[in-house]
């Protein structure tokens, strides 16, 4: 009986969470089109999110490109297909690895940051103070942050892809005597709009998901200062899980287009 009631409670909480998140999303779309627009804050958030994630994306992207090439090389050599290395690495990074890894890095970095920041503003009544001063805190804090992640993530993904390709090119240059120019020419020859467009659209949704979850968890943070930690932590977990769901949906839809 206890197990059943715990399960029932868990299922109920899950659906309540889905409902609350849906309401939060609907409120975002309602507020985003309504003036006044907080352009200054949006720019500040874009700068903060882009700038603060740059080092992390650079290091991760570079190592991913490096490792992917080093790991694939022996197998491709075995099959006499090492000349396909730029094509393989290019397509896998641009279509899947680049967007997903960058988004996961940003989920850890940005979603937790937003969750903690808004959560701490909630428990210290800063959000209430904002509302009392006549500023719509949802518009000022939430809309700007979700817009910033939605706009910045595709840029970070493109940047991360280029750094990863550079890492891969470096290995090929050192181990296979392939010039950087030849490597990048081969990569860009192999890539088509059918690879770039879905990946970019997917990144936009990844950015939206990260911002949405971070803001949702922070904005409705409860239980005092302990709640701030919970908000930051659950923001990362929920954003990471949702990223895979969004990725699956995006791949599924783009697959339909490939087949047409």
């Amino acid at each position: 009986m206890d197990n059943r009631s715990t399960l029932f409670k868990g299922v109920k909480e899950f659906f309540v969470e889905i409902g609350d998140l849906s309401y939060f999303t609907a409120r975002f779309f309602k507020e985003v089109l309504k003036p006044p627009f907080e352009f200054k804050e949006l720019l500040r958030q874009c700068y903060q999110m882009g700038n603060r994630s740059l080092v992390l994306v650079t290091v991760t992207g570079f190592i991913i490109g490096l490792v992917l090439t080093l790991q694939s090389r022996p197998t491709l050599i075995q099959f006499g297909a090492v000349s396909w290395m730029p094509n393989m690495v290019g397509i896998s990074i641009v279509r899947e690895i680049g967007p997903v890894i960058t988004a996961l890095i940003c989920a850890g970095r940005i979603a937790s940051g937003i969750g903690a920041e808004l959560g701490s503003m909630r428990v210290t009544e800063q959000i209430d103070a904002m509302e009392v001063s006549g500023t719509n805190p949802f518009k000022y804090l939430v809309v700007t942050r979700i817009m910033a992640t939605t706009l910045m993530l595709p840029i970070l993904v493109v940047y991360g892809d280029l750094v990863a390709l550079y890492g891969s090119a470096l290995v090929e240059n050192l181990k296979g005597d392939v010039s950087f120019q030849l490597y990048f020419n081969t990569v860009f020859d192999a890539l088509s709009y059918a690879d770039l467009v879905p990946a970019t659209i997917k990144s936009v949704f990844f950015g939206f998901t990260i911002g949405l979850v971070g803001c949702y968890k922070g904005y409705y943070c409860k239980k005092g200062t302990a709640g701030v930690g919970i908000a930051a932590n659950t923001a990362v977990v929920m954003a990471s899980l949702l990223l895979f769901v969004v990725d699956f949906i995006a791949v599924f839809i783009s697959d339909i287009f490939y087949e047409l």
Binding site: D128, M130, S133, G134, T135
Partner: protein
């Protein structure tokens, strides 16, 4: 002023509240529950123009919920809340925001924006109310004036984290003053402060009231604060205004619930 002792089933507004001056805040039969927790059970209150009214209650008695109902941060289950003649719960968002510019709110923990400097904290409320203040672009004189009122003009470019608890409270008070409100709501203005700093804050509140002629509603459980600043007091017990009168009237009461507030 008369001393009224009220009980859950028979609440009567004080004579002071009905016969003197114009009411700037009127609360009638305010009810608010959070699940099974009935916080306010028909609370009544009137704040008069230029008056310093203290509402005292134990922790968790619903003081903060009541004060948040006054600015529309918490929606009551039932009852009417009128501020400066306007029923808060039936206002459109824009009208509510305009009305909020006439209500200053000093939060319990100061609630300064951590990511902004003191100057930006003070400029923030002015963003939506420049017309009211007659400010076109340069907000510096207003910011300076507000900070000078609290004796902290030199902190303009500091971050909140660089300020002490008392300084934060004073900056928060300056931020409250910047829109030149008609009513100031103080939520536990001395909580978490040492006795000397508390005294400074109380003095500051009194001088502000004298200088600007504002009406003040002070929510506190600090008896010393209530003694110094109150012209009239309401004791909030079990979600109702249990007793009402001046500090000396209430402090001499023999009712056990009232006595409990004044025991050292």
């Amino acid at each position: 002023m008369n001393f009224n002792m009220t009980h859950p089933d028979k609440i009567t507004p004080s004579v002071a509240a009905t016969s003197l001056g114009k009411a700037v805040i009127e609360i009638k039969d305010l009810y608010k529950s959070f699940g099974d927790n009935h916080v306010l059970n028909g609370f009544n209150m009137t704040l008069l123009e230029g008056e310093n009214l203290v509402v005292m209650g134990k922790s968790g008695s619903g003081k903060s919920v009541m004060i948040k109902c006054l600015v529309g941060l918490v929606k009551p289950d039932s009852g009417t809340v009128k501020v400066l003649g306007k029923e808060i719960n039936s206002l459109e968002q824009q009208t509510l925001d305009e009305l909020r510019s006439d209500i200053g709110f000093l939060f319990q923990g100061s609630a300064l924006y951590d990511s902004m400097t003191v100057r930006e904290n003070l400029e923030f409320p002015m963003r939506r109310h420049k017309e009211k203040l007659g400010v076109v672009s340069d907000t510096e004189p207003l910011v300076r004036e507000a900070l000078e009122n609290v004796g902290l003009a030199h902190t303009m470019d500091l971050m909140p984290v660089e300020l002490s608890g008392g300084m934060k409270r004073r900056v928060a008070l300056a931020r409250t003053l910047i829109l030149k409100p008609k009513v100031i709501l103080y939520d536990e203005p001395t909580s978490g402060l040492d006795p000397i700093t508390s005294k400074e804050i109380i003095e500051l509140m009194r001088s502000i009231q004298k200088k600007y002629g504002t009406s003040s509603l002070i929510i506190t459980h600090d008896v010393d604060c209530a003694r110094v600043i109150s012209e009239r007091m309401i004791l909030l017990v079990d979600g109702i205004n249990y007793a009402e009168g001046t500090y000396s009237q209430l402090s001499q009461s023999t009712d056990s619930k009232v006595e409990a507030f004044f025991k050292k």
